[in-house]
């Protein structure tokens, strides 16, 4: 089943100028508006130089979730930041590739690699 708003985002933390968080659950049209709302609220009071989304807890997402990620990317870029996606599961990675987003987001196997890349 898809997740509800209350448990989709976990373990929000900052490290230097980076904001890191985990997303959990399947995301589709039913709950992507909730995910969007939560993510935009998190960014309302912050302008991280990097937003690192750990998607290891997301076995599935649809195009409505992709739209949320693209909107989020626009917000982060507007503030001069970058957005990294980590721990991508196969179905999620496949959809991102169909959407040709592998060249726009930065994919990393783990958060540590994403953070390490920021200084380069």
């Amino acid at each position: 089943m898809t997740s509800n708003e209350h448990d989709m985002i976990r373990n929000v933390r900052t490290q230097g100028q980076a904001m890191l968080l985990e997303v959990h659950g399947e995301v589709d049209l039913h709950n992507s508006p909730d995910l969007r709302g939560q993510l935009l609220r998190l960014l309302a009071d912050a302008s991280p130089k990097a937003l690192v989304l750990n998607l290891g807890g997301v076995p599935y997402m649809d195009s409505s979730a992709i739209a949320v990620l693209v909107e989020l990317l626009g917000r982060v870029r507007k503030g001069g930041g970058v957005m990294c996606l980590t721990h991508l599961q196969p179905r999620v990675k496949a959809l991102l590739e169909i959407a040709r987003l592998e060249t726009i987001f930065r994919f990393f196997p783990a958060d540590a690699e994403a953070l390490a890349s920021l200084g380069k």
Partner: protein
Amino acid sequence: MTGPKYEMEIPADAKLIAPVRHAIEEQAHRLGFDETACGEIGLCVNEAMANVIRHAYHGNAGRLRVESFFDGESLHVRIRDWGSGVTPDLYAKKDKNPFEAGGLGLVCMGRLMDKVSFTPQDVGMLLEMTRRRRVLKQDGDENCWSKA
């Protein structure tokens, strides 16, 4: 092997996308489709239902009928709605701009299913999607897949 035919008439409600997707993925799995194919079929069912909810009914109340059956060669999924009846342009989005909103569902259907057609009805639309089951050839060549 053809397996049972699934037919369900449901409200056009986004919370029903996941259970319908899971049911058809499970059907495809039991019919011998590989894991990747099951996931791709499920994604296309998801995107088709979402398009009906967003574009045929514009988020308003409505209903849709989902049928899926296997003919011994291919899994057929039919999604009927009684909404706006506008035929999506399946091919216009093949070179979709990643930053452009919308259209990704149609791209998925066009790329992941073997055949997709939209047939306007007196009221609404009938979407038919077909995905062939691929079987490993008997000669054991793991790289050689053929359509069943």
